[in-house]
Amino acid sequence: MEVAEEDQVDAHADASATGPLLRLRGITKIYQMGEQELLALDCVDLDIESGEFVAVTGASGSGKSTLMNIVGCLDVPDAGSYQLDGVEVATLDEYELAAIRNRKIGFVFQGFNLLARTTALENVEVPLIYGRRSNRTELAQQALQRVGLGDRLEHRPSELSGGQQQRVAIARAIVTEPSIILADEPTGNLASLQSEEIMQIFQQLNDDGATILMVTHEQDIARHCKRQVAMRDGRIIEDQPITERLRASEMIARMREPLPGSAGRR
């Protein structure tokens, strides 16, 4: 295993002098279910450079969410090394992990996970509060404008559609300008048009320089990304660039076109 690790390091040594943004080596996660041991992640190696847009795909139970949680510092691996921005995460204590989650990571969940009875604006402000940042309202407003919700600041989650709720969640993830945006099936609960709108936002963010790692089990959604990592039984079985990339803006235009009576629209 050490040999493989050295090989990998060599392979990437030329790619960037400072090293990759994300560097996973031999990441292993075992769930103990009574007598049984369940190998959710089996020696995963993964590098992600700054500016990448990676889709993680695979069958249900293949370990995608487990991987995302470890990358998002919400969970700790049982073995292996994970470096984020050159920092070995395993050495950090609770408070340093909280700081990393706050500053370097923006997490988007499948189930939105917004605070109930709290307005969109306040939801987006939450990470800024824990980051002890000033001019929170202004930053939160800007983030909501970037996801196209500049006119829904005072709406509560119960007063927003699923797609809009997910956009609030994205605004919350980007408001601290994190090093990487992690999204675990962000379109899993959404219809196709809403999914495309979410992907459009991600593509825009990526074009603006954001690094994005997202999980999806829909091939159509994965094709919006630049690179695809396929998993099975806790292992990465395929890792390749996406050749025929889809642009969400085009997809949205195409979806709207055949609708009767839409001629009058833009």
């Binding site: 919400l74 969970d75 909280a98 700081a99 996970n113 917004l114 009875r117 824990y130």
Partner: protein
């Protein structure tokens, strides 16, 4: 996280389930209100006892029958009710008054008892004091209307009397009715009313000192109560400084006169008490009562605190997902701890404040309606607030630390 947003967050969380927050607060409200009320009543009682005793004068010594002998006397000691247990005599009083002019200025022998008083068809029970004219100066009991009886009337067994205002009220419905010149019946003996006593003020402990009829000693002993013994002798000293000496002199004299043998004071059949003795004695009664009631109140405060803990634990479980979300976006364990602690403290503090208002209000109400004297002590207020905030913190710590230690992944998956 700054304090204002902390506070806003906590208030929002508490406002989500208003009924529950209110009920949780109620425990603290009642606890604090009861503490304040009880302390106010206790202090009021001590104060009115003190006022009452001080109103008798600071130079006063009281000689009473001793504490060692069994008192056989029942209510209204008719006939030979007071037996060997009480050996204070008129002669004792006279000798005390004559023998020590350098320390004792006056003595007022007294017999006391319960009587039926009747005026124009109105019947009521009251207490009678039979005494000499010295009573006015010795017991600090001036008349506000008419006059006190003089020594001729006393020695001649003339049936005249002086009334307290509370008794006037019971007989006529008003404290201020001028009854001088009227005739009343005291245990079926007719008495001419010649004066009304100045009020001593209501007591919250013991009988009302103004509910009294004062008659000449001789008449009281022979006709009204039928006794040959005194119940007490009021002794007025020359100055407060000589009181210990006077006390010793009376002790020595009465031991000889009553043929007592050592050891003293165990074998004494009388006791000499100063106002300070009386004061400490009755105040210690008041204090014991206050302390017992306060203990009950404090227990209710603790119960209120447990209520807070209970609700906070429920709240932590209910909001597990929220805690997970907050941790996922960068909340530290301390942030979460603080959030829940502030919520618990707010419940306790608002509850405490409302309790203070309620406690002070009900004390005032009690003073007004029931006529009890109540004293609000600022220390009790501050203490009640501090204790209730402390209760919030103390009982909030466990649920809050439980919340802060939640694992973010498990918290997010909860439900």
């Amino acid at each position: 996280m700054n304090f204002v947003s902390d506070l806003r967050l906590a208030l929002r969380a508490l406002s989500i389930n208003k009924a529950r927050t209110f009920l949780t607060m109620l425990g603290i409200v009642i606890g604090v209100a009861v503490v304040i009320l009880v302390v106010a009543i206790g202090l009021g009682a001590s104060k009115s006892v003190a006022d009452q005793i001080n109103s008798l004068g600071t130079n006063l010594l009281t000689v009473r029958q001793g504490p060692r002998r069994i008192r056989l006397t029942a209510v209204g000691r008719a006939g030979s009710g007071s037996q060997a247990a009480n050996r204070l005599t008129v002669q004792d009083a006279r000798v005390i008054g004559q023998l020590f002019p350098e320390t004792i200025s006056a003595v007022a022998p007294q017999v006391r008892g319960n009587v039926q008083v009747r005026l124009a068809g109105v019947d009521t029970s009251s207490s009678v004091v039979g005494t000499t004219p010295e009573y006015v100066s010795v017991n600090n009991a001036p008349v506000s209307l008419g006059r006190f009886f003089n020594s001729f009337e006393n020695e001649g067994s003339v049936r005249v009397c002086v009334l307290g205002q509370a008794l006037c009220e019971k007989l006529t419905g008003s404290r201020l009715t001028d009854l001088t010149g009227r005739t009343i019946l005291v245990n079926r003996n007719s008495f001419l009313v010649i004066g009304i006593l100045a009020p001593k003020g209501a007591a919250s402990f013991g009988p009302d000192p103004d509910d009294v009829v004062v008659v000449p000693l001789t008449v009281a002993m022979e006709r009204v109560l039928g006794t040959s013994r005194l119940d007490q002798i009021g002794v007025s000293c020359v100055t407060p400084e000589v009181m210990p000496l006077a006390q010793q002199q009376i002790n020595a004299l009465l031991r000889i006169r009553h043929h007592l043998r050592p050891p003293f004071p165990e074998s004494d059949d009388f006791q000499v008490m100063s106002q300070t003795d009386l004061l400490t004695r009755s105040q210690s009664v008041a204090q014991t009562m206050t302390m017992m009631l306060t203990a009950v109140a404090v227990i209710s405060l603790v119960v209120g605190g447990i209520g807070i803990m209970n609700i906070m634990l429920v709240s932590v479980t209910e909001r597990t997902r929220e805690i997970g979300i907050r941790k996922a976006v960068g909340a530290t364990p301390r942030d979460i701890l603080l959030q829940f602690l502030i919520e618990a403290s707010i419940i306790a503090m608002i509850g405490g404040l409302v309790g203070v208002v309620l406690g002070v209000g009900s004390s005032a109400l009690l003073a007004k309606i029931a006529g009890w004297e109540t004293v609000i002590s600022p220390i009790a207020l501050v203490l009640a607030l501090v204790v209730s905030a402390g209760v919030g913190l103390f009982f909030g710590i466990y649920p809050a630390s439980k919340a802060s230690r939640l694992n973010p992944i498990q918290a997010l998956r909860y439900e």
